[in-house]
């Protein structure tokens, strides 16, 4: 035993003695074991109904030749035949690649535009609140309405875009915005970017507001010109915010359906066909739900891959966020 300044340091504590009849102890221990299960039951049930069951159902149907018009087909098990057929289907892979391209372009453009907007709004001191509110307007519309709106803007006969271009004398013939394959893709991305750039702008602006001033001043003293300060200090600090936006948006864009369905419905000749328009067509118009669900499974994996990628980036970037002070 050791004597210390604060008194005597004792050896191991004597064992606590349990009291009371065994029955009470039994109930008490079992009660505590059951409580978490009971408390979590609503959540577990909800998850079962909302997520697990549809998932299991669609997985099963993707293994059958299920047609909406012939319900009994759901009972025929055909193994992976739907998937094998998909792997040989060029149209599917074209849509798959197009979806990735669409995602990549839309996210990058939205990020760059959002960054510019956030930087500009951060600079001004007057009317900042109002601009922040105005910036959110495009998010208030349903994607279907946005699709209709742009369908009319880009319409080759009556659209105001062609109308404006012709009145200004920039072109003398109608440009077939939604008919030419490339232009149609451009138009859709344009609508998508118009609608959702503010997601980036808002999150990046939040990042700019949270940005500590000190490292910026330190960098200026350390010899940086304004561009270098932005490149080496501000931008790395903003990246976690960009990754949050990308995570949200990659889920959004990967299931982009409404705008495309309204503006081109995958046309012309399938050249704006994205995964979800193709899936919807296969499932509902052609009624081949089994095949459609197989496609949906593959595109879900694509979504998860994108989300996971941005999420790991986010986690990596967040590690240093606490060290700013």
């Amino acid at each position: 035993m050791i004597e210390t300044a604060r008194g005597r340091a004792v050896g191991p504590a004597p064992p606590l003695r349990r009291r009371g009849p065994d029955l009470i102890r039994y109930i008490r221990t079992h009660q505590t074991r059951l409580t978490p299960v009971l408390l979590l039951a609503p959540a577990i049930l909800t998850m079962l109904f909302v997520v697990a069951m549809p998932l299991a159902f669609s997985l099963w149907t993707s293994l059958t030749p299920y047609r909406l018009t012939r319900p009994e087909t759901i009972e025929t098990f055909i193994g992976l035949r739907n998937y094998i057929r998909l792997f040989q289907d060029e149209d599917f892979w074209a849509a798959f690649g197009r979806t990735i391209l669409f995602l990549a372009i839309a996210l990058n453009v939205e990020f760059l535009l959002g960054l510019c907007i956030a930087l500009l709004i951060n600079k001004i001191t007057w009317g900042q609140r109002m601009l922040r509110t105005i910036m959110m307007f495009p998010m208030m519309f349903s994607p279907i309405l946005v699709g209709f709106q742009f369908k009319f803007i880009f319409n080759d006969n009556i659209g105001i875009l062609n109308n404006a271009l012709q009145s200004l004398g920039i072109t003398d013939q109608a440009i077939a915005w939604l008919v030419d394959g490339r232009l149609a893709m451009f138009s859709i991305i344009f609508a998508e970017v118009w609608m959702s750039t503010s997601v980036f702008a808002i999150l990046l602006l939040a990042g700019l507001f949270a940005m500590p001033r000190d490292p910026i001043e330190a960098a200026r003293v350390d010899g940086c010109n304004p561009w270098q300060v932005f490149r080496h200090i501000t931008l790395p600090f903003l990246m976690p915010f960009a990754f949050i936006a990308m995570t949200i948006r990659s889920l959004d864009v990967a299931r982009a359906y409404d705008i495309v369905a309204v503006m081109t419905d995958g046309g012309p000749a399938g050249r704006t066909e994205l995964l979800w328009t193709m899936i919807a067509r296969t499932g509902y118009e052609n009624a081949r739900m089994g095949q459609a669900n197989a496609m949906a499974y593959i595109s879900t994996i694509l979504s998860i891959a994108f989300t996971y990628y941005f999420f790991t980036k986010l986690v990596a970037a967040r590690r240093y966020m606490g060290g700013a002070e």
Binding site: G223, H232, G323
Partner: protein
């Protein structure tokens, strides 16, 4: 490594002027400490030297260059910030080397200098950590490493130790002093802590409300404060200040306590002059516990109100002419509340200030 000079430098935020035309010349390789209560404009002054704040009026020269319109990066100075201001997303190595990299130094040079600086500050094992993974003291070292790694004209420190705990603060203070001996360069150091100022400075600049009150070596400002503000700000515990009048070669306190006007101050005073007497606690000790009667002294009899034991000395709170004052008892014995003790005052260390202006009678 350059001199820095401020000429009539003023700073206004909108219509509010916070620094009022200060003049200051800092010599090559000098360690100058700006000290003053919080809000007196120390940081603002330092940041004007760094180029982080516009100079509203006046001129700042670093070396022989007028720097008023130069951005910070062209001034070639290093700065250590109060909250360290490390780059949160870079590890220690990159934090240290960032300035050199921006300056376009080749990678070998950067690596070499980073190694050197890390060795000087004892942070070589931390190179791969990011700031979030460092303790306050370690961050402080990295911040200093980042400052010394370049070869700047001057170092600027803005309260670099105020976020550390007391023990670490004392330790880092010593290290900064050593560092200055090792890396000879001009330093402007801002603090609100007069002990830090006294221990570090070649010269102290005492500021108040955007004005410079006094500039001098630590001994000068301690022994010859120009006014009551400096007198009470420098030294701990602070100097006792008691109003009095001069009559017939005597200082007369409000309760008719009298002591002779010190010989060295006699020529600065005249009969009927309203003064403030300044006595440091060290210069007012119980008889036999500090001041010997060899010098010019006066005797008082005072009642102990409270005694604070500090070990080697005891701080005695008492009352002089109705005002709370402190004395010190060296080589202490036990004293108790209400005890009446004979005190001896060292007159040769006594200060007299003009009651109206607060300025030392020697200065007016």
């Amino acid at each position: 490594m350059s001199s820095i000079s401020l000429k009539k430098v003023a700073k206004s935020y909108g219509r509010l002027e916070v620094v009022h035309g200060i003049d200051l010349d800092i010599a090559h390789n000098e360690f100058v400490v700006l000290v003053g209560p919080s809000g007196c404009g120390k940081s603002t002054t330092l940041r004007m030297i760094a180029g982080l704040e516009e100079i509203t009026e006046g001129e700042i020269h670093i070396g022989d260059r007028l720097v008023n319109d130069l951005p910070p990066r062209k001034r070639n100075i290093s700065m250590v910030f109060q909250n360290y201001a490390l780059y949160p997303h870079m590890n220690v190595r990159d934090n240290l080397g960032f300035g050199l990299k921006i300056a376009g130094q080749p990678q070998e040079v950067v690596d070499e200098r980073v190694r050197e600086a890390a060795a000087i500050l004892g942070i070589s094992e931390l190179m791969d950590r990011i700031p979030a993974e460092l303790s306050g003291g370690q961050r402080q070292r990295v911040a200093m490493g980042r400052a010394i790694i370049r070869d700047p004209e001057a170092f600027l420190f803005d309260e670099p130790l105020s976020n550390l705990d007391a023990k670490l603060r004392v330790q880092m203070r010593t290290e900064i002093k050593k560092l200055h001996h090792k890396v000879k360069t001009t330093v402007v150091y801002v603090t609100h802590d007069q002990v830090e100022a006294m221990t570090l400075a070649d010269r102290i600049v005492i500021m108040k409300d955007g004005h410079i009150e006094q500039v001098g070596t630590p001994m000068e400002v301690f022994n010859h404060p120009v006014n009551t503000f400096v007198a009470s700000f420098i030294g701990s515990p602070p100097m006792n200040l008691v109003p009095a009048t001069v009559a017939g070669g005597q200082i007369v306190l409000s309760d008719e306590t009298r002591m002779p006007v010190p010989r060295r101050l006699a020529s600065y005073t005249h009969d009927g002059m309203a003064v403030i007497v300044g006595i440091r606690p060290d210069d007012m000790t119980p008889v036999g516990h500090g001041i010997h009667d060899s010098g010019e002294t006066a005797n008082l009899s005072l009642t102990v109100e409270l005694a604070e034991l500090l070990g080697t000395e005891t701080l005695i709170y008492t009352r002089l002419a109705g005002q709370e004052v402190q004395g010190k008892m060296f080589d202490p014995r036990d004293v108790h509340e209400g005890e009446r003790l004979p005190f001896r005052v060292a007159l040769d260390k006594l200060h007299l200030f003009d009651a109206a202006s607060g300025r030392s009678v020697r200065a007016t």
